[in-house]
C-alpha cells in the first residue's frame, strides 16, 4: 500500500513538473545562424506540442548554435488566445528580428532567446521562441523573474485551496455530521427505552405467571 501511495505521488509530481517545465519561460544564450519557413505536417498526438491551426501549414523556424557548439532549433508560431498564455501575436516581427540577428562563427553575436517547450528529435517537436534580445557574451546570465513570481504564486494558490477546504469542512461538514450523530443518538436512546420498557413488561408478565404457580 505504501508503494502504491508513493508511486502515485511520484507520478503526480512528475506530471505537474513536466507540465510546468514545458509551459514556463526559459532563456537560452545562442548564436542565431539562420531562419527559414518550412511546410510542416502537424498531425495526431504531436499536435499538442504545436500551435493550433491547419494540420498542414508553413511554420517558421529559427536555427541557432549554443556556446558549447550544440545546435538548437526553435519554431516561431503565434500562441494567440490559446494555451500557454503568452498571447504571442508578433511572430512576423520576431522572424524579422531573428533574421537581423544572424551572425557567423568568426564574428559571433550572442542572443538570449526566451522560449517555452521542448526540443525532441524523435517526436520532431520544437520549443516556441517568444522573444530575443542581445546579450554581452555567451556567459551572460539572467535572473528568472517571471518564474520567481509564478511558482510561489502557484504554491500560495494551492495553500489557499487547502485552507478553504479545511474551513469548509470545519464550519459546514463537521456540524452536519455532528447533527446527524446527535439525531442518531436520540433515535438510539428511544429504541433503548422501548427495549427496556418491553423487558420490564415481559418481566411483569413472567412474574404474574410465576406468582400463579406458587
Amino acid at each position: 500500500m505504501r508503494y502504491v501511495k508513493w508511486t502515485l505521488i511520484a507520478l503526480i509530481v512528475l506530471i505537474v513538473g513536466s507540465f510546468l517545465h514545458y509551459t514556463l519561460p526559459q532563456h537560452d544564450i545562442v548564436r542565431i545562424v539562420g531562419t527559414n519557413t518550412e511546410r510542416t505536417i502537424v498531425a495526431g498526438n504531436r499536435s499538442i506540442f504545436w500551435s493550433s491551426g491547419e494540420s498542414t501549414r508553413d511554420v517558421q523556424f529559427i536555427q541557432t548554435v549554443k556556446a558549447n557548439g550544440k545546435t538548437m532549433e526553435y519554431r516561431n508560431e503565434d500562441t494567440g488566445w490559446s494555451w500557454p498564455p503568452y498571447f504571442k501575436f508578433d511572430t512576423s516581427s520576431l522572424y524579422t528580428e531573428a533574421s537581423d540577428a544572424e551572425s557567423d562563427k568568426a564574428n559571433p553575436e550572442w542572443y538570449s532567446i526566451t522560449h517555452y517547450g521542448w526540443r525532441n528529435e524523435v517526436l520532431s517537436i520544437f520549443p516556441n521562441a517568444i522573444a530575443i534580445k542581445p546579450v554581452v557574451g555567451p556567459d551572460a546570465t539572467s535572473f528568472p523573474w517571471l518564474n520567481t513570481i509564478i511558482l510561489p504564486f502557484l504554491a500560495i494558490v494551492l495553500l489557499l485551496i487547502r485552507r478553504m477546504w479545511l474551513q469548509f469542512r470545519e464550519r459546514t461538514i463537521d456540524p452536519l455530521v455532528e447533527d446527524a450523530g446527535e439525531a442518531w443518538d436520540v433515535v438510539d436512546d428511544k429504541a433503548d427505552a422501548l427495549k427496556d420498557g418491553a423487558r420490564e413488561k415481559a418481566r411483569g408478565i413472567k412474574g404474574w405467571f410465576s406468582s400463579l404457580r406458587k
Partner: protein, 88 residues
C-alpha cells in the same frame, strides 16, 4: 475573433467561480472571528445578534469589495504579458 471570445468567456466564468468561492470563504472566516470575539468579550447578550451585527458591518465595509481584485489582478496581468510579448 473566436479565440478572443473563448478566452474572455472562459476566463470570466473561471474568475466568477473563484470570486464566489472566495466570498464564501472570507464570510466564513469573518463569522468564526466574530463568534470567538463574542466569547472573549464575556459572552454578553445573544450570540446570534452579535454575530449578525458584525456580519452587517463587514458587508458595509470595504473588505468584501476588495475581493473584486479577483477580476482586476488577472486583467492587469493579462495586459502586462500582452505588452511584454508583443511590444517589448
Amino acid at each position: 475573433m473566436f479565440g478572443f471570445l473563448r478566452f474572455f468567456v472562459v476566463g470570466f466564468v473561471g474568475l466568477t467561480v473563484l470570486f464566489i468561492l472566495l466570498t464564501i470563504y472570507v464570510r466564513s472566516l469573518t463569522r468564526e472571528r466574530l463568534e470567538k470575539e463574542w466569547v472573549e468579550e464575556g459572552s454578553i447578550g445573544a450570540r446570534d445578534d452579535y454575530v449578525q451585527k458584525g456580519m452587517d458591518d463587514y458587508a458595509q465595509s470595504i473588505r468584501p469589495k476588495l475581493l473584486l481584485g479577483v477580476y482586476i489582478l488577472p486583467m492587469i496581468t493579462f495586459c502586462v504579458i500582452f505588452y511584454m510579448t508583443n511590444f517589448m
